[in-house]
């Protein structure tokens, strides 16, 4: 302790200098937009790199499970191959390609950082601008909703997780097409709330909740979860439904990013109406 004080006294000039410089740089980064961006960007590149390293390890640990999942999926797809189906119909249908226009395109990406324990959770993916990911694209895993891409750098993307109080997505009850909005209340990471459902709507525990066609981010009919609890309406016209999410956000490893090829067309059209 005595030595420490001696050192401080002896080098007080240098120490004071370093402290004031630190204060200056905090001021610079906090008050100048340009410096802030430069600082944050380099920070992100660094943390992204570190997350990548950490993730390569955790991925290795998880390999067995993912292999299982993949082989299951493989069998499933094999079963769907056309060779496996015997033609029993008497007539043929000819599909003209101009009838089917591809609207959604899927890109696979790996989750390299994820959290579930905050109020605002974000996911980092290992793909970015260079791999064709753009902000506002939807993210799914196992064909159910994970979140929406928020911002992208050259090789990384951050995703606004469904477990983020700022994200609200349009959802519907599959069996009767009633729409509502779904958000996470920040409590249990396995449960979200579906609100704005009129109180006369028939819903039972176990009913499937999917995305609606109102969203310009997700295709219609993507699984979100199942109704877990229906809260009685407290005098109002609407009631709330607690939705058990079908994804386990704690185990996210590989996700698909959905690009909507016709999105611009739709948004432009909708904008014109608002004019």
């Amino acid at each position: 302790m005595k030595n420490l004080i001696q050192i401080i006294v002896r080098f007080h000039f240098t120490i004071l200098f370093l402290i004031i410089e630190l204060v200056c740089f905090i001021l610079i980064v906090n008050n100048n937009n340009y410096h802030k961006t430069v600082f944050l960007n380099s920070n992100n590149a660094l943390s992204g790199g570190i997350y990548n390293k950490v993730n390569s390890f955790t991925d290795y640990v998880r390999l067995t499970k993912i292999n299982d999942q993949l082989s299951n999926e493989n069998t499933l797809l094999h079963n769907l191959l056309s060779e496996n189906y015997k033609l029993t119909a008497d007539s043929f249908f000819f599909y003209n390609d101009s009838v089917f226009k591809q609207q959604f395109i899927y890109r696979s990406a790996k989750v390299i950082n994820n959290s579930i324990n905050k109020q605002r959770n974000y996911i980092t993916l290992n793909k970015g601008k260079n791999q064709g990911i753009k902000p506002e694209m939807g993210v799914v895993a196992n064909n159910s909703v994970v979140g929406i891409v928020k911002s992208v750098s050259d090789n990384y993307a951050t995703v606004l997780s469904l477990l983020n109080a700022r994200l609200k997505i349009s959802a519907k009850i599959k069996k009767n097409n009633h729409h509502g909005s779904l958000y996470w209340d920040g409590k249990d990471y396995r449960k979200a709330r579906l609100i704005e459902i009129p109180s006369h709507v028939d819903i039972k525990i176990g009913d499937t909740i999917t995305t609606s066609s109102f969203s310009s981010v997700f295709p219609e009919g993507l699984l979100i979860g199942t109704a877990d609890e229906v809260l009685p309406s407290s005098g109002g016209n609407f009631r709330e439904i607690i939705v058990l999410l079908s994804n386990d956000f704690n185990q996210l490893s590989y996700v698909d990013v959905i690009g909507d090829l016709l999105k611009n067309e739709r948004l432009e059209l909708e904008k014109e109406v608002e004019k």
């Binding site: 007080h12 240098t14 004071l16 004031i20 410089e21 200056c24 740089f25 100048n32």
Partner: protein, 167 residues
């Protein structure tokens, strides 16, 4: 007491000069004189080191407030204040520095003051320009800016000394 008042007045005058006149001089986008460093150059020898740093900080911060660059000038000034005692120790004078006088041009001669001012101004400007650009891309441009602006500032500082000493 006299020299405290004198320094306070110099502080204010230099800020006003810098903000109203020198900040508006931008020759060919590169040359931008920062005359206000004269305040740090002319502080008395026996200023305690910690006070030197604090004064430099506030000098820089005042300029920052006027030019909307919070922290940039302050950091460069503090760096300059940090170097000042080191430079003073390393530029030899025949005798030791006498206390109670300021190190103006007329005290230890032109070549001493020139060396002293050149080193500190160059240090200040380098720090300032690099922090301002905040990256080492296009370092050549930054370097040209540093050198040209340093020369301009140095000319202004020395000219001001001639004007004052003639009085």
């Amino acid at each position: 007491m006299n020299f405290i008042v004198k320094n306070i007045i110099r502080f204010i005058i230099l800020i006003l000069l810098q903000v109203t006149i020198f900040n508006n001089i931008q020759l060919s986008g590169f040359i931008n004189p920062y005359m206000y460093v004269l305040f740090i150059l002319l502080l008395p020898f026996e200023t305690p080191p910690w006070l030197l740093l604090v004064l430099s900080f506030f000098m820089g911060l005042s300029i920052d407030i006027f030019s909307n660059t919070i922290g940039i000038h302050a950091s460069a000034c503090v760096f300059m204040g940090f170097l000042r005692p080191i430079v003073l120790n390393n530029i030899s004078v025949r005798d030791n520095y006498e206390s109670d006088i300021e190190q103006g041009l007329y005290v230890y001669g032109f070549s001493w003051f020139f060396k002293y001012a050149l080193i500190l101004i160059l240090a200040h400007h380098s720090f300032l320009f690099i922090v301002e650009v905040f990256s080492f891309n296009n370092f050549g441009d930054t370097l040209i800016g540093i050198i040209l602006s340093s020369i301009f500032t140095l000319i202004l500082v020395i000219t001001s000394q001639f004007i004052i000493s003639k009085k």
